[in-house]
């Protein structure tokens, strides 16, 4: 258990500490550590270890791999390995990058194995800080750093909810334990749920926090592939899935989460469809797909939600890696400019195609199955309607991306650089992830669904055949329409509303950032004009008092000066008899002794 977390953490920390001297060996070391972590994760998933250690007085902290954690641990480790494999070819060899990536993976592992809120917070916070470092990895690029700051501040704002939840959990149950939260007494239970939901929505880039993920696309593609598929954003979905009993217990929280997820899936689906930039499209689709998982947490479809999470992790990291490869090779991520990109790098093209089809929900690929489980659990008609619409949109934006890279002829000339994305070594992550993207859905198909449900520790669920056929046909139809539309591209002008991510960032800018800055300016004015004036006034008063004291001091000073002056005069007087002439000495000596004798004789 300890080794699972410690291996990537220690190797990452060592790489960071050693710094540039380890640059050349960094990719190899990181890959080895990552492979070891995957092996340990598999072992942990089977053996289910747990660990308890003293954290606070009377409040032990714990790490444990249960069913839910086992899935997450293996998913995180596998995606990390795949992404690092890609990064070894795509990124310059840098111990800083690989060290940060490993540390990030370790933090994510802590988060998904924590059994209590305190330890979870530790992993959660380290993850947040490292996400800042990774998104802003190219720190010379001001845009990257600004994006990192936006991402960090936004998720931090949500994180406050987690602190709040931890405090309320301690007050309500006397412990941080995650599994005891649902049993908390009435007011505390609701407060804890509120805090956790806030934190999860922030981390998972759900409405209204979605915009940070758009900005985070400024980071390296490998970072996007890791952070925005299996980790970071998935942590929020994981958290709500983990505390699903708590959400259900409150009543309102489950509904809130379900609607937040469904609306995110719908609206961010529109946003994804409106994007002209491949990475932005993928980012928006990530938000939308995470919406399905959050929805699953709200509708108690935990088994489906976790399956969707794992499958989506494979799909989305695969798509980000493809986008990253084209960005590196072709220097663009603009959908129009990527015309025919898939034909030039066949391996990347085919695997990207598999991923996009899976994202679209085309049978028999993974997300088709997992999404239907979630859809089947929605319960109410309005929610089901919204979800169905979101499914259609998912097919639509996937089609957009797929068609964009496959349509048209490959432009000759630069295909030789396909070595970057092709070849045996760098190709392995693509193939592996494509396999996962295609096949991970089987876990919800009978009879595997029973095993899966037992593993995850949730009631078994399976897609209904009618729905499956329905959504499958729908996805294919949408895809077909997409191809047809693409033949003669219509002059569709998407609403700026959708293109610009629902104006969320602008809203935050106007609604939060500017008021806060205005308030800060106001407070600064208050500080300068009222507080400082008071301080200056106090100082002036002291100075006045001091000058009063000076009035006393002046005579003293004058007296001292006078004393000095007097001593100087006396000194001059004392030297006056020292004329250097012997006859005056004689006179002085004789007079001196005479006076002495006369005075003494007379006095006596």
């Amino acid at each position: 258990m300890t080794v699972l977390v410690a291996l990537p953490a220690i190797v990452g920390a060592v790489l960071l500490l050693v710094g540039r001297r380890a640059d050349r060996a960094a990719p190899t070391i990181a890959l080895a550590a990552s492979a070891g972590t995957l092996g340990l994760a598999v072992v942990a998933a089977v053996t289910r270890p747990s660990l308890t250690f003293p954290l606070f007085e009377g409040l032990p902290g714990g790490l444990a791999v249960d069913g839910l954690s086992a899935v997450l641990v293996v998913t995180v480790a596998a995606v990390t390995l795949a992404v690092l494999g890609f990064a070894a070819g795509d990124m310059p060899a840098s111990s800083r990058f690989f060290g940060l990536m490993l540390l990030f993976a370790a933090a994510m592992l802590v988060t998904v194995t924590a059994t209590d809120l305190a330890v979870l917070l530790v992993g959660w916070e380290i993850m947040g800080a490292l996400s800042y470092a990774l998104i802003g990895y190219r720190w010379r690029d001001a845009g990257g750093v600004r994006a990192a700051t936006t991402a960090f501040l936004t998720t931090r704002a949500g994180d406050l909810g987690l602190y709040f939840a931890a405090g309320c959990a301690l007050a309500g149950t006397g412990s941080f334990a995650l599994d005891g939260l649902a049993a908390a007494p009435a007011p505390w239970r609701d407060l804890v749920a509120g805090g956790i939901v806030l934190a999860a929505l922030g981390k998972s880039a759900q409405l209204p926090f979605s915009f940070w993920l758009s900005r985070a696309m400024a980071g390296p593609s490998a970072v996007s592939a890791l952070l925005h598929s299996a980790t970071m954003v998935a942590a929020g979905a994981y958290l709500v899935l983990r505390v699903q009993p708590l959400l259900a217990a409150t009543g309102w929280a489950a509904t809130l989460v379900a609607w937040a997820g469904a609306l995110t899936a719908l609206l961010l689906g529109f946003v994804a469809l409106a994007q002209r930039d491949l990475k932005q499209l993928l980012a928006a689709s990530t938000c939308a797909q995470l919406g399905f998982m959050v929805l699953a947490a709200g509708t108690a479809a935990v088994a489906g939600g976790v399956a969707h999470l794992a499958a989506h992790a494979a799909v989305k990291s695969l798509l980000f890696l493809g986008a990253g490869t084209w960005l590196t090779v072709l220097g663009t991520r603009d959908l129009a400019a990527l015309r025919g990109a898939a034909r030039r790098l066949p391996l990347v093209g085919v695997t990207f195609g598999v991923g996009a089809l899976a994202l679209a929900g085309v049978p028999p690929l993974s997300l088709w199955l997992t999404k239907d489980v979630i859809l089947g659990a929605t319960g109410s008609w309005p929610l089901a309607g919204v979800t169905l619409a979101a499914t259609v949109l998912a097919a639509a934006y996937s089609a957009k991306a797929l068609i964009a890279v496959w349509r048209g002829e490959a432009r000759p000339g630069s295909a030789s650089r396909s070595g970057r994305g092709g070849g045996i070594g760098p190709g392995v992550p693509f193939v592996a992830l494509a396999a996962g993207a295609a096949g991970l859905g089987v876990v919800v198909v009978p009879p595997l669904n029973e095993v899966w449900a037992r593993t995850v520790g949730a009631p078994a669920a399976r897609p209904h055949v009618v729905e499956l056929v329905g959504t499958g046909v729908l996805a294919v139809v949408v895809l077909g329409v997409g191809v047809l539309v693409a033949r003669r591209p219509p002059k569709v002008r998407f609403a700026a509303f959708a293109v610009d991510w629902l104006f969320l960032e602008r809203a935050v800018e106007r609604g939060i950032v500017r008021p806060v800055l205005a308030l800060a300016r106001g407070l600064a004015w208050f500080d300068d004009h009222v507080v400082q004036r008071a301080v200056v006034g106090a100082a002036a008063f002291s100075r006045g008092a001091a000058s009063g004291a000076l009035a006393v001091e002046k005579p003293v000073d004058a007296a001292v000066q006078g004393l000095g002056e007097g001593a100087r005069r006396l000194g001059a007087l004392a030297r006056y008899p020292q004329t250097g002439k012997v006859h005056t000495y004689f006179a002085q000596a004789v007079v001196g002794f005479l006076v002495l004798a006369v005075v003494l004789v007379l006095v006596r």
């Binding site: 001593a567 006396l570 000194g571 000596a589 003494l600 004789v601 006095v603």
Partner: protein, 462 residues
Amino acid sequence: MGMSENPVDLLPELCVLGGVVVALLTGLFVPRGRQWLAVALGAAGAGAGLIAALVAAGRGDGMTFEAFLLDPVTHVTRVTVLGAALVVLALAAGPLRGHRRETEFTVLVLLAALGTILLGASADLLVLVAAYLLASIPAYVLAGFAKDARGTEAALKYYLMGALLGVLMLAGVTVLFGLGRGTSYATLSQNLAHAPPGAVTAGLVALLAGLLFKAGAVPAHHWVPDVTEGAPPVVAAFVTTVPKIGAFAALFRVATDVVPSSAPGPELFAVLAAATMTLGNLAAFAQTNVRRLLAYSTISQAGYLLVPVAVATRTDLAEPALLYYLAAYVVTNLGAFAVVLTTNTDTLTDYRALATRSPALAVSLAVLLLGLIGTPPTAVFVGKLLMFTAAIDAGYTWLAAVALANTVASVFYYLRWLTPVFTRPEDPPPPPRLHRPTILLTYTLATATLALGLLSGLTLLP
């Protein structure tokens, strides 16, 4: 008090005398290059005298040849004078090595030291006069030793002052002889009590003229600055230090053994003490020549030394206070002059940034000057403390207050010397030409003041 006429009682003095004679004879016959032999023989005589004096100090008190007292005052005088004389000879080794009249210098120093010991040990006015002459005349010659204009002028002033005050002293001796029907202190103390007090006071003041001249105290202090500045530095070190020892010992004896209770002895000495310390300090304020500054400093120290003399008959603390202060002062003052000899400059501004050129020397100077102020834990501090205690013990609180005020005032001019030493130089003067044995001697003296202060502080003070 046992009487005897055993020459062995005078062994230290005889050793010194023998050293003088042998050195003189040797100096006559060895070539100029080997005069060090005569110096060594003379120094050996003084060294033997020092050892004999230390041995004699262990024996009981007494009087020998009816005029020579053997008591703690004599013992301390002998040891201090001979030790100081040896230090002066060592200090002279640098500047006078190979000098044409090297032997002469040694002989003069030893003869003056011998006269000083006699001055401090004598119990008879006639012996006192003889000792005065023996202590003075070699010193006059030493002042003009360099045979340069300033040295000659200094020697002449020194001699003329000494002659005048010596005549006054003889007059005083004559008056007291007439009044007391004898010259021995024992006779005088018996008979002067019945003599007219006015006449006794007048005779006493006249007698003091010579002793105050040797001590460099007001109103016979005029020679001190001129000689200290004009004579060679090593001679200045000698004449401001060694004769004082004998003079204060003699003054102490006069105050305790001669002055009858009818005469205003304590008042006389107290006034002289206050006047001397104040005048010395005031005149030292504006000095720019370190030797002149040290000269006035020695005058003020003479004032402090007169305090135990003033209270000599009133408290038992007076004797240890005087003797301890004397020894401490001698070591410290010789050390200060050693610094002047080492740096070979008199100008105050030349000491700028001495600390960067020779840190150890600067620290030594600081220790010695702080010692002259009377800062703990130096030797003079203990001496001053004893002196204050004695004054207060004897009811002379006003004198202690004057001494304290003067001590505070003296800080000013000692620091005037010390401050430039530790300033950062903008253009450091060239490193001084340093004579290695002299430097070592300086360090030794500075260390000695500290060691003496610490050791006596541990033993003397509660």
